[in-house]
Structures are given as structure tokens and as C-alpha cells.
Symmetry: C2
């Protein structure tokens, strides 16, 4: 058996070493010449011995050691990791990420995150979505604004992609119809809040030949139901460590932004910013739907043209509104989505109305001159979904190596 030393206890003529590896914990009993052996917590060791049944251990077994060898010795730790909670502030935890992830709770977070993406891929593939890989070095930002990282690309100005938006639309129009991508996106935002990262993982999906943007919400709803079910089955141990209960999901409520504003006004006496919800509004709306309908998720639809990107399909039945949605989960927006404009002239006009020069987006715009079908999609922020699901206080806890305005290391 190979693993790390979780804890050591020396008695008079016997020592106990709790060994941990990716499958769990086991107690090793060091007798005779091994008793009292100096073994540091978190050293990597290899143990040979006989497994014997015992009523003393949770897993019903312990190992009587015949041989033990230290593969790689640990120095004194910056903080103890074998306690339930790490007794260190978040900065120290993140500075010593390799150490902090040895903690059982922290360890569980990224195992669950890996299961989330596994479940997402399984679901998307089962629905005929194809995995795509689109460039992160791009000539234009897709989400507008100044929040892009710039770099020199062989003498040309390039940006880091804020999302695979343009490319996923292009892949749909290229005949793939249904595509997904799991990859990094980059936002040069100066926010240094508990819910923002400057680099995060986006679960993107886009589908063609839709009748309306309700199909997109339905698909995302189903995806999340599948993911939560998958976690219940595959991550029982990790969820127990984190004392996290996966909520039962049904059909998520859908309300328009106007209705959300009305609820905030009537139930909480709160006014909202024009065409959007603020952080407090997102929190209160979620509280309302959790308490009134038992749903931790709620779709907010029909954002106005002004507050959505240039590729968003306007709603011809509700002038000024768009066929768009956000999905809120436990107080935070975890998704933007909607139907996109697939008609060249309308899209060109939309660019101009947003003050953008269509010529600069020619290769994207050309997509819509050659039979691009009605389409739409959504994107889920992986770290936000993980942190809200697991009840983490800060989104950085759901990123193995988070990037914020101050943090580029490790």
C-alpha cells in the first residue's frame, strides 16, 4: 500500500499510522522493531503487511505492518491538514495549495468538481452534442466591454477569449448542430469579490434548429438534474465529508426580469437597477423561490436589448426585450443563455446599434450568410456551480489554482 501519513500515534510498544490514499483511510499497526518509528505527517510512504479484521475501525480492517518505507519525507507543515477544517486564512490556504488540498474536505471539493464535468459530458453526449475545441487566442472579444486581456501575437494585437461564444455558434452553423466545450475563459475584470475569478472554467453548449429559447432552458434544466443525480450516486463519500446534501430538482421556475423586479418590490420593498438584478436582488429572488416553491434554481428571462450582448435575439413579440435568460442558483447567477441572432442583416444592425463596427467582426458575421439555422445555448460557470452546491463561502475555494487581480501564483 502506498499513500500519505494522515496521523501518527505512539503508545508504549506500538504505533499507529493512519495511511490515506485516493480510495480512503486505513490504520497501520507498527509493532516490534517498527514501534516508535519517526514518521512525519504527510510523508509519502509504502507499507507492506497483513490486513486483519477489527471492530475498532470504521472500515473494519487494519494492517499489521511487516515493512514500512518512507518514499518522500514531509517537512513541518505551514498548517495542520488532518483536522476537519483548515485553521488558516484563505490566502495562506491558497498559497500552500498542495498542502491544503491534502485536507479531507478540500480534497473532496475537486473530486466532486471532476464528477460534475464528467456528468455534464455524459449528458451532453447522450443528447447528441459533440465536444469541440475552440481557440482562446482571438482577434476580438465576444462579450464586449474593456474586460479583455491583450497580448502581442507575432506583431498583431490578440485577446484572450472571454467565452467561446462566436465559435460555438460557428460550429453549430458549420453543420454540427449540437456542440459543447469545457474550457477556460478569461475576464480582465477588476472585481475582487467572493464570486469573481479572472480565469474560470466554462461549460458551454449550443444547439441549432431550435423552435424557441425555451428549448435551451429545458436542456440546461435536464443537464443539471442529471449532474445532481450523478453526484448522488458517485460522490456519496465526498458529499458526506462536506456535509452536503444534493437538493431534489424538478422543473425550474421561469420568470421574466420584470416579474423579478415586481417580486423584489412587493415582497422586499427593493428597487432594482434598470434592466438587470444586482447581487442583493439575486439573493432575495433565490430566497423567495426557495421558500415559496422549494426550488434552489430560478430562470430569469427577457432581459432588455440594452443589457445583453449584440448577438442576442430580440423578442419580436415584446419590443425592447430579448429571448435571453440567466439562471440563478442559491443567490448567484451561474448561467447566461438564450437564442442568438441567425439572420445576417439583423445581426449587422445589432452590432451597429451597440456601437460596434461590423467590418471588424467580418469572419463571424459571414457565418450568417450561408444558411445558419435558428440556434441558442448556455454557459455554466463551473466554479460558481461547485461553490454554491457545496456551500463554499468564496468561489476561489472551488478553483484549484484561482486567478484574481492579486493572485497569479501558484
Amino acid at each position: 500500500m502506498k499513500g500519505w501519513v494522515h496521523r501518527v500515534r505512539h503508545l508504549k510498544s506500538v504505533s499507529f499510522v493512519i495511511l490515506k490514499d485516493r480510495t480512503g483511510f486505513v490504520q497501520c499497526v507498527l509493532e516490534k522493531q517498527f514501534a516508535g518509528m519517526k514518521v512525519e505527517n504527510e510523508s509519502a510512504i509504502v507499507v507492506k503487511g497483513k490486513a486483519v479484521a477489527t471492530g475498532q475501525q470504521k472500515n473494519g480492517v487494519e494492517v499489521i505492518v511487516d515493512d514500512i518505507h518512507i518514499l518522500s519525507k514531509s517537512e513541518a507543515l505551514p498548517f495542520e491538514v488532518n483536522k476537519k477544517e483548515l485553521d488558516a486564512n484563505l490566502d495562506l490556504i491558497l498559497n500552500h495549495r498542495v498542502i491544503s488540498m491534502r485536507n479531507e474536505r478540500t480534497q473532496a471539493i475537486f473530486r466532486i468538481q471532476s464528477a460534475i464535468t464528467g456528468a455534464f459530458e455524459e449528458f451532453m453526449r447522450s443528447k447528441g452534442f459533440m465536444q469541440m475545441f475552440t481557440p482562446k487566442l482571438v482577434a476580438q472579444g465576444a462579450e464586449g466591454g474593456a474586460n479583455v486581456f491583450k497580448l502581442d501575437y507575432f506583431g498583431k494585437e490578440a485577446f484572450l477569449a472571454q467565452s467561446p461564444q462566436f465559435y460555438k455558434q460557428m460550429m453549430v452553423a458549420a453543420g454540427y448542430e449540437r456542440v459543447y466545450e469545457i474550457g477556460p475563459v478569461f475576464r480582465a475584470e477588476q472585481h475582487n469579490s467572493s464570486r469573481h475569478l479572472n480565469e474560470y472554467t466554462s461549460l458551454d453548449a449550443e444547439m441549432g434548429f431550435i423552435e424557441g429559447f425555451e428549448e435551451i432552458m429545458e436542456m440546461e434544466n435536464e443537464a443539471l438534474v442529471h449532474i445532481f443525480q450523478y453526484l448522488k450516486v458517485t460522490c456519496e463519500k465526498e458529499l458526506a465529508v462536506l456535509e452536503c446534501e444534493i437538493p431534489e430538482l424538478g422543473e425550474f421556475p421561469r420568470i421574466s426580469l420584470q416579474e423579478a423586479h415586481d417580486i423584489l418590490h412587493e415582497s422586499f420593498g427593493k428597487s432594482s437597477p434598470e434592466g438587470d438584478l444586482d447581487g442583493e436582488g439575486e439573493m432575495l429572488i433565490c430566497k423567495y423561490f426557495q421558500e415559496t416553491y422549494g426550488s434552489p434554481f430560478v430562470f430569469i428571462t427577457h432581459y432588455p436589448v440594452e443589457t445583453r450582448p449584440m448577438y442576442t435575439m430580440p423578442d419580436s413579440e415584446q419590443p425592447g426585450k430579448t429571448k435571453s435568460f440567466d439562471l440563478l442558483f442559491r443567490g448567484t447567477e451561474i448561467t447566461s443563455g438564450g437564442q442568438r441572432i441567425h439572420e445576417y442583416e439583423l445581426l449587422e444592425k445589432s452590432f451597429e446599434e451597440k456601437g460596434l463596427n461590423p467590418i471588424e467582426f467580418e469572419s463571424y458575421l459571414n457565418t450568417f450568410r450561408f444558411g445558419a439555422p435558428p440556434h441558442g445555448g448556455f454557459a455554466i460557470g463551473l466554479e460558481r456551480l461547485t461553490s454554491k452546491l457545496l456551500g463554499l463561502k468564496n468561489v476561489r475555494e472551488a478553483s484549484a489554482f484561482p486567478r484574481d487581480c492579486d493572485r497569479l501564483v501558484p
Copy 2:
């Protein structure tokens, strides 16, 4: 039925429209008022009608149209896409990527690529590997040299990751033991060859508690056997379109670099660069192993310390050599891998011998002070694997939106 117009044929009182979607082709028969209707190739359409059996069509069915509606009309195409091969040069093909991907052969490439990653994930997860997401914005390059893209990160100098090397090692040492990542890597190389991209997709894996680097080769060998088998089962149609036969794989031959040099010298009268193979050498070695042993893959092992990165484990039994390998496939290197240094002092010394200042890599080096187990891994270049497998002439053909020194659009 919804899809794109593949081809139209007008007869006197009837027209035939071949409709294509992600599942395949079907002939639609336009009679009466629909006969002679103007329908452009590549327009997106919706068709209602009755499916009837016919011996005339490969799939045994055609659709008698009751209603047909154009969802999105295509303009005149820059080149025809309904022929077997695209009649355009690669630059034009890549400039009009959405159009060129509508071609059946080009379409098949990325469906197969998606299956490759699906198979890779399935395999890695079945072996207990966890998916990880590591930052692409980093403070140091991991592969050395000047081939990194630089950018300003809130006033600090940052780089785009050349590989997730440091981070995958850190995740192994953090207690995850076995990790994989599928993500973009960035190389600011001035190469403009048929086998280089400046951004490509890397299939990375790393595993801990290994006995030797042979385990890594075994794991990669098994992974490729699984991927090829998976393609045979799931991509029969696409492989047929590309006239591609998946080779039978067994255990890949393994030879040292010295043996490779000897073979090149003895069988081809060729001398090689010190400590490496050149492009011609890779081609000839592959030719030799294909013809002599019927293997399209061959591992080249034991590269000298000088030509491998600072994290490579030296081979104590062969001074000056390392526990490293490349994997060649049909004339091209598609993988680098090997065992890594897990001992702090040895690693620090290795950095210094490569002329690197250990202080600058402190957060990575610290990993090895707290019980990092023996470990190693490999990385497969997805586009190279795809292009060599499918017999594509240029690696750009295996990238949906390739990035080279001259190309940043689309």
C-alpha cells in the same frame, strides 16, 4: 425534418433535394406545387412529408414533401462543398471554415476528434484519474525557452501556459494521485510547418506512486488501444467517409534514443542531431517499425539530460540519460512523457544546472518539500494524433480554427 440542402436536382415535373443533418443524408421529393422550387445549396430548411421505402437510395428511404420552408438562405458559396474533396487551397478553406466544415469529409474529422477525447476521458476515468482544470495564465513557463506568449496581468508580467506540467504534478502531490486534463496549450514558436500550431489541445495525464517510467508508457499504450477501439465502434460512418482504416494495436515497441540513432545509421545511413531525432529521423524510424514490426507507434526512451526539461528524472543507472520518452506515430512525435523529479534537492540542482533560478519557481518547488511521491505522466497532442490517424497532410486540417504565426482569424 430540419437540416441543410446538400444538393438539388430539377427534372421536368419533380425536384429532388438531398437534405443533410448531423445524422446523415435523406432524399426529399418535391412534386406538384413544390417542383422546380428555387432552393440554394447549403440553405437551412425545414421539411414536412411522408417517408416512403425506396430501393433507389442507400438508406432505403425517401421523403415525399408535403411542406418545405427555408429557415435561412445561403448566398453563393466561395467554393462547392457537396463534392468529395474541397476544390480550394488550405488558406481559403480555413478562411471559410464554417463553409468548409459542411463538406462531408471535413465534417467527419471533428466528429472523430470529439470521439477521441470522449474515449480518452472514458479510459482515464476508468483507471481512477480525476479531471482537473489548471490555469492558463501563469507566472512562469514550464517548458523553458523563449517560446511563451507574454501579457500584462493587472500590472504583473504573465505568460500563457505552455503545458499544465507544473500543475498536474502539483495535483498528484496534493493527494489526487491520478489526474488528467484536456485543454489548450500555447507555444509562441515561429515555426510555420505542417505539424506545428501555436495553440493546440493537449491530453495530459499524470500519476503518482509509480515504480518506474515504464508504467507511464504502459498506461499511454493502453489509452491509445482503447481510443482506437472506441473509434472503430462509434465512428464507423465517419471513418468510411475518410476512407480511414484504424490500425490494430498491440504493445508498442520501445527503443532507446541510442538504438534509434543506430538504426538510422545502419539501415538508412543517416546521422542524427545530438540527443534528439530530427523530422526525417522520426519518419524513417516509424517507417522501419511499421515495415519490420507492423507497429505504427514506437516509444523512444532515455533522452539525455541536456535535451529534456528541468523536471525530468535522471536515470541513475545510465548517467547522463533520463527516464523519459517520446511516442512517435506515423512519422511524427505525438507525445512527450516520463518520470519527474520528486526530490526537492535534486530538483533544485536540476533547475540550477539548466541556468534557472529556483527562487522564481518557489511555489512549484515547495511541492516537493511535503511528501511528493514518485510520479510521471504524458501529454498527447490532439491535433497531431487526429491528423496522423486520418492521414491529413497538414495538422491545421485537424484544428477547427487553427492558430499559426499568420492566422488569428476566424
